[in-house]
């Protein structure tokens, strides 16, 4: 019915425009609707701005969506073969759950708008998202759907950080239940304090693309889970013994890292939130450059450090170095000069090389290094904003880090504990030993290879 009405309307408008040319005597009546149609499609500054902003959100958005593939491949490569199908399942599931929850409740909780707060500047409104018809979506500076889409992929990214740390010894559905709450409530509430114009934003806290809001949040949730879940069976022995469990595929891990690097241009670049002016376009370009240089620096620092410390370059820590560099620059990818991005990203690489073994010393089993990469580098990236952005100050930055940290860690810890003591988080020792592919998914990643069931 709407289609019919719309087509009828278009037909009438066309007829009127034709009438304008054929019968000038009727021009007076036909001019008003035709002028309105021209107004919406003319290349006015406002229209150009709208279109380019929308384009930035959509392109940045699908680049960040692609990071879900990056996480999936990175994690698949760093777990043992018997757990690869489980890791793939977790990653595609959490991306999808993030989308559903951010529609149902997350977006409006995070962006309630002026006067929309349930608790002012702290808790937004509880409402699903609806989208206006395209013809009516002309009020703002960008298409409504494009903003939701761009924000949704950030929410999903936060969820994917948690799955890497807890790999190889967590049951599927308890993990996904945690993700439902993380993406529907925990992430949006702390996000509203800053990007939703809540109390942290009022204080002057600065987190351009989410070193704290996305990466540290994921890292805190992962840390809480790792503490309650415990290490993989056999990972730690008596007298401080540590037993490495090398990942199944270095090419997948490397590919995943490159995919994340690519997606990060959308993650940071899209966070400029505008593209329709010369200054905004130039800003997005500058962000791309700083983002890339921070990652490159993280790689090289990690390579040199592992060569010096261990006598050989460690590829997995080199990959972590790239990501830590990216996380470090994410809080402020616009303001720095290139050399500053190189320094900031390089320190991210240092953080990775020293905190990965540190976690093992503390018997916190983080399979992929997500806590060093996202939590520790996220904190560093947030604090160092004060160096390159004169509007930020380190005390406010630290306050934001602490506030988000306390909220996310405590709420995650409580939720993980609740799940642990009700439905349980871990598979049995036998299930864990045989691999989660068999016990949780019933499908092996590599049935014909290694000890797969299709090999004798």
């Amino acid at each position: 019915m709407n289609d019919f009405k719309r087509n009828l309307g278009v037909g009438i408008a066309t007829a009127m425009v034709l009438a304008l040319t054929v019968a000038p005597g009727f021009a007076q009546d036909a001019a008003a609707p035709a002028a309105a149609a021209v107004e919406k499609t003319a290349a006015t500054a406002a229209n150009v701005d709208y279109i380019f902003n929308t384009l930035l959100f959509l392109i940045g958005g699908f680049l960040v969506m692609w990071m879900a593939a990056g996480f999936a491949m990175l994690e698949a490569g760093l777990v043992r073969s018997k757990n690869v199908a489980m890791q793939c399942t977790k990653n595609i599931a959490l991306y999808s759950i993030g989308g559903i929850m951010f529609w149902l409740v997350g977006y409006n909780l995070m962006y309630p708008g002026d006067g929309g707060w349930v608790v002012a500047d702290t808790i937004g409104k509880f409402l699903p998202v609806t989208m206006p018809a395209p013809g009516e979506d002309t009020g703002g500076a960008y298409a409504t759907g494009s903003d939701w889409f761009f924000q949704m992929v950030f929410c999903a990214t936060t969820a994917s950080i948690v799955s890497g740390t807890l790999a190889e010894r967590i049951k599927l559905w308890p993990f996904l239940i945690f993700i439902v709450v993380l993406t529907g409530f925990i992430y949006p509430i702390q996000g509203s304090w800053e990007w939703g114009a809540g109390w942290l934003d009022d204080m002057g806290f600065s987190d351009f693309a989410g070193s704290t809001l996305v990466h540290s949040t994921g890292g805190w949730a992962a840390l809480a889970g790792a503490l309650l879940l415990g290490a993989r069976a056999g990972k730690y022995g008596p007298n401080g013994a540590i037993h490495p469990m090398p990942g199944s595929s270095m090419p997948l891990a490397t590919l995943g890292t490159f995919i994340l690097w690519l997606g990060w241009f959308g993650f940071n670049g899209g966070s400029q939130l505008a593209l329709g002016t010369l200054e905004n376009a130039s800003a997005v370009a500058k962000i791309f450059v700083n983002t890339n240089m921070a990652a490159a620096s993280g790689v090289l620092v990690a390579m040199v450090l592992t060569q010096v410390i261990y006598g050989k370059v460690d590829l997995t820590m080199t990959l972590n170095g790239a990501l830590a560099g990216l996380v470090s620059i994410t809080a402020e990818p616009l303001a720095p000069a290139i050399w500053q991005s190189v320094v900031i990203g390089g320190v991210g690489g240092v953080i990775v090389v020293f905190t990965v073994p540190l976690l093992d010393k503390l018997r916190i089993d983080d399979v992929v290094g997500a806590i060093p990469v996202h939590l520790f580098a996220g904190i560093w990236g947030t604090l160092i904003v004060a160096w390159t952005n004169s509007d930020a100050n380190i005390v406010v930055q630290a306050t934001g880090v602490a506030a988000v940290g306390a909220f996310v860690f405590v709420s995650s810890f409580v939720l993980w504990a609740f799940l642990k003591f009700t439905i349980g988080l871990r598979p049995t020792l036998e299930e864990e030993t045989n691999g989660l592919d068999m016990s949780e998914i019933g499908i092996e990643a590599y049935p014909e290879f290694g000890t797969g069931s299709q090999r004798i």
């Binding site: 490495p244 997995t316 073994p357 093992d360």
Partner: protein, 112 residues
Amino acid sequence: MKLLTAIIKPFKLEEVRTALTDLGLEGMTVTEVKGYGRQKGHTEIYRGAEYAVSFLPKIKIEIVVPSAQVDKALEVVQSAARTGQIGDGKIFVSPIERTIRVRTGETDETAL
């Protein structure tokens, strides 16, 4: 008939196979195995933690040989598999009671 079980370094497989074929001995069974003798393993480091690689990849060749050819076969296998470095492997000889060719039913030395 005797069973020759030869544990050799993996890259020596083609050389040993050729040497046996030149003797007129066709047919063998090859398995990928791991093991060590006097050749010690080494340690590697993964993400800052050490692990021992004690077992080294080897190839096991099993070939059943007519008794008259055993000495010659041992000689060519040893010569082909040898590098002079520790870890070259060993050859074991054990007796075989009976042999049957599945396709034709031929037995013992006519089945080899």
